[in-house]
């Protein structure tokens, strides 16, 4: 147990010093000293609760993805059957209950219709996965039901593109180092350090920015619209700003189909309307979008179309002449700020699904700095007291334990820096707890040495037995702590996880420094001094 050949000593010292050295850049950063740029500087990153910043948990509405898919399917089926040769006429389309059902006018076309629809129902991937089940009832009614795999994949795709959109929007704000991660099936975690105005970020993320242009149904009676009676083929859309609605009706009837989406843009900018000088957003379509927009406006001159953002009407201007230039102005009751925000949102694309904030934590930078300072002071006092007690009770061996403790703290920091883990506020408590608990291994060993001496064993045998007999309990105790730590990590969110990380890393380094390193030092001392008395 006490044999330490040179190769082993070199190896142990090397490991200790290398890992401990990895803590230095972080310590330099805390004390404000410059770190030579030629040397790599892995640093412990600070959690938002220490550095200040915003943590926002967004949740997507999965049902909405399903609904959207259903609508797209309806459009595709209509288009496909209309273009079929000979044309297949259908009626009684309904998308209620999460499935699409429609009837063929001519039941003899069942096979032809199935042939046409089939390509729409398989996934785009190579796996040949079926996204929709087709069923025919009563000879001529088609029912398309989404499969759960297809739906899951659609949600997953929607989340991937939502993350992309979120990233673009945050980048547009010019913030540094945002973290954007998918969490679980339908959530996104956004962490942005050191933000001056978290409000702007949240407003931006809360906006779906789904822009649509739909034709206004001027034949609908305003009274019906006001009462919520929907004319056939229409939908009723409320005004975003009820005060801008004409004739005191806060909603407008628009044609459900035949509109275009405003997602094919190359640019969107805030600008001013020339006559009234009120803020507007100028959008520029890409070629395809421009063509669609030109077609819509040429076919509907002198009619009104509604500009709809996220299901609310911004304005409903008349089309005075076809708009062929590929750009358009969106007016509404904007302020400069809200117009700028909409421009950013439109530039980064619409979110494929609405996101709502389900958890938000914002910490100001002052509080975090205060926490670090107080945490360091408390840690310093605590460490000092532990060291005093250890040296007073165990003398020389207490000094060994102290050195082990210092290396322990450095190694934890070093490992955290290299692994790129985050130090959070509870993580500071984890450090303090580890400092208090790490010496337990030494206490167990030294008390055992005392006992062995009392039983009359010689010095070397007492030391050897102390390490041997105590290691069993140290081993068991650390494993149970490890179990608790793993559960803490698995269960914890953000800050609590930081606590678990420090505790778990601390378990390994405590055993290494408290048992292995001190044994090497004690063995060295025994060999050099050959003491006949053991003062523990």
């Amino acid at each position: 147990m006490l044999e330490f050949p040179t190769w082993k000593k070199v190896w142990l010292w090397g490991l200790t010093l290398v890992v401990a050295a990895a803590a230095l850049p972080s310590l330099f950063a805390v004390s404000g000293l410059p770190w030579p740029s030629a040397i790599p500087n892995p640093q412990v990153s600070l959690g938002l609760d220490l550095a200040g910043g915003s943590h926002i948990l967004l949740e997507a509405d999965e049902k909405q993805v399903g609904q959207q898919r259903l609508e797209n399917m309806e459009e595709s089926v209509r288009a496909r059957l209309r273009q079929a040769e000979p044309r297949i006429r259908i009626g009684d389309i309904s998308s209620a209950g999460g499935r699409l059902s429609f009837m063929l006018k001519d039941p003899s076309q069942v096979d032809a219709a199935r042939e046409e629809i089939l390509p729409l129902t398989t996934g785009a991937g190579l796996t040949g996965q079926r996204d929709w089940d087709i069923r025919v009832e009563d000879g001529n009614r088609f029912i398309l039901t989404p499969t759960s795999e297809g739906l899951e994949q659609a949600v997953s795709q929607a989340m991937d593109s939502a993350i992309e959109v979120v990233r673009k929007r945050i980048d547009a704000l010019g913030t540094r180092e945002p973290t954007i991660i998918r969490q679980g099936q339908n959530r996104i975690v956004v962490q942005v350090p050191g933000l001056d105005d978290p409000q702007a970020l949240k407003d931006l993320l809360g906006q779906t920015a789904k822009l649509e242009f739909k034709m206004v149904d001027d034949s609908a009676a305003p009274n019906d619209v006001a009462q919520g009676i929907v004319p056939p083929g229409d939908e009723i859309v409320p005004y975003a700003d009820p005060q801008s609605a004409p004739a005191g009706v806060p909603a407008i009837a628009v044609k459900r189909l035949g509109g275009i989406k405003g997602d094919q843009l190359t640019d969107a900018r805030q600008s001013f309307e020339q006559q009234t000088n009120s803020p507007v957003v100028t959008i520029t379509f890409n070629q395809q979008g421009g063509a669609k927009f030109a077609k819509l406006t040429s076919e509907n001159v002198n009619k009104r179309f509604a500009i709809i953002l996220d299901g609310k009407v911004l304005s409903a201007p008349s089309i005075n002449e076809p708009i062929l230039g590929g750009s358009a102005q969106i007016s509404g009751s904007f302020t400069v700020q809200s117009a700028t925000q909409l421009a950013i949102a439109l530039r980064s694309g619409a979110l494929p699904v609405d996101l709502t904030v389900v958890e938000e934590r914002t910490v100001g930078p002052d509080l975090g700095a205060d926490s670090i300072r107080k945490g360091l002071v408390a840690m310093g006092i605590g460490t000092g007291l532990v060291v005093l007690l250890m040296v007073a009770v165990y003398g020389r061996f207490g000094i060994y334990a102290t050195c082990a403790l210092v290396f322990n703290v450095l190694m934890i920091l070093g490992i955290m820096a290299v692994m790129g883990t985050t130090l959070t506020l509870p993580g500071i408590a984890g450090f303090v707890l580890t400092i208090g608990a790490a010496v337990d291994a030494n206490v167990l060993i030294y008390e055992r040495m005392r006992e062995e001496r009392k039983k009359g064993r010689r010095v070397i045998a007492a030391v050897e037995n102390g390490y041997k007999e105590a290691s069993r309990a140290i081993y068991d105790a650390n494993i149970t702590n490890f179990i608790a730590g793993i559960l803490l990590f698995a269960f914890g969110s953000g800050p609590v996880r930081g606590f678990a990380v420090v505790l778990i890393i601390g378990l390994f380094t405590s055993v290494f420094t408290g048992v292995t390193l001190t044994r090497m030092w004690v063995a060295d001392w025994l060999r050099r001094k050959r003491p006949t008395e053991l003062n523990v």
């Binding site: 100001g364 002052d366 009770v393 165990y394 608790a484 559960l487 969110s493």
Partner: protein
């Protein structure tokens, strides 16, 4: 150099003589803790109750105007806020419930916190907003569920480990000691109505780990002594084991407390609850490893035979059969 001794050599305290009264007291305390938790309830923070919390410091005031704040916020009509002093005298935390409509409507939660902040700022221009947190009812429900799973799983997993490493009686004893520690910690939080959130669950999990340290050290010694002194009556043997490990128990609790108490006194306010829970856990954990975990072994019938080395299950059966044979 004369070294300090926290515990004199060769103590011989009859810890287990009073095991029955101590057990009765402990069970009463456990029951009282649960009674408090059920009647008085835990003061859930927004992690578990959902809602909004604003932490603010009044930089130019000696003391936070708590009464005025209460009025300011109550006037806005979001129910009565919970306003607590938070660390320094000029810092407060303001907790409000979110109206049901705000569920899944982020804009509304937003608007509420903005209104509250604006109302405070209007009356007290020196206010500095330190943090704003919003947790929706859905997320807080998930947190509650996860917390219960984590605590249950930790207690069970650790007990199973002890059972595997020792004997089933030790596993039961360890579980019972843990149940005691967790119950009393919860009881303290119910009694003092300290805010109970995710950090406290983290603290309890840490307590589960560390209080078991003590139990394991005592159990390890009991196992060792059981093998050595197979004829010694169990209460006497347990007393001996506890006395032998007493110096270590006291010393380790002392180092933990020395490290943690400065954190309690001088550390960041946000860590007060977590640290208080762990400090409490060290006291009850040390007590429970002596008075909960050890005596239960007597009642569950541990004996020197529990650890006859190199005896497999088959051999054990055979031996037991032999012994039954010789008796009859």
């Amino acid at each position: 150099m004369q070294l300090l001794k926290l515990v004199p050599d060769n103590t011989n305290i009859h810890f287990l003589r009073w095991r029955v009264p101590f057990y009765v007291v402990s069970i009463i305390l456990i029951a009282a803790s649960w009674g408090l938790v059920l009647t008085k309830g835990l003061n859930y923070g927004i992690d578990f109750a959902g809602g909004q919390e604003i932490e603010a410091t009044f930089t130019k005031s000696a003391e936070a105007p708590v009464a005025e704040l209460r009025e300011d916020v109550a006037k806005l009509g979001y129910g009565d806020p919970v306003i607590q002093r938070f660390g320094d005298a000029n810092s407060v935390s303001i907790r409000t419930k979110l109206p049901e409509e705000a569920e899944g409507n982020a804009g509304m939660a937003e608007a509420i916190s903005n209104k509250i902040i604006a109302a405070i700022r209007a009356d007290h221009p020196d206010v500095r907003i330190d943090s704003v947190s919003t947790v929706s009812g859905k997320v807080s429900g998930e947190f509650r569920e996860m917390a219960i799973y984590a605590l249950g799983a930790a207690m069970l997993a650790i007990s199973i480990y002890i059972w595997v490493r020792f004997e089933w009686q030790f596993g039961v004893g360890g579980l019972f000691a843990l149940f005691h520690d967790v119950s009393l910690t919860l009881g303290m939080f119910a009694l003092f109505q300290m805010e109970f959130g995710l950090q406290i669950i983290a603290a309890i999990l840490a307590i589960i780990g560390y209080s078991l340290n003590d139990t394991i050290v005592v159990y390890d010694r009991i196992r060792e002594d059981l093998k050595k002194f197979r004829k010694m009556p169990l209460p006497e043997l347990l007393d001996m084991s506890v006395n032998e490990t007493l110096a270590r128990t006291v010393m380790t609790s002392a180092t933990l407390l020395l490290a943690l108490i400065p954190l309690l006194l001088f550390g960041p306010e946000s860590l007060f609850g977590l640290t208080a829970a762990i400090v409490m856990g060290i006291f009850v954990g040390t007590y429970s490893s002596i008075y909960m975990a050890a005596p239960i072994l007597i009642w569950l019938g541990v004996s020197g035979d529990s650890f006859v080395p190199t005896e497999s299950a088959v051999e054990r059966q055979e031996r037991l059969a032999r012994e039954r044979g010789t008796k009859s």
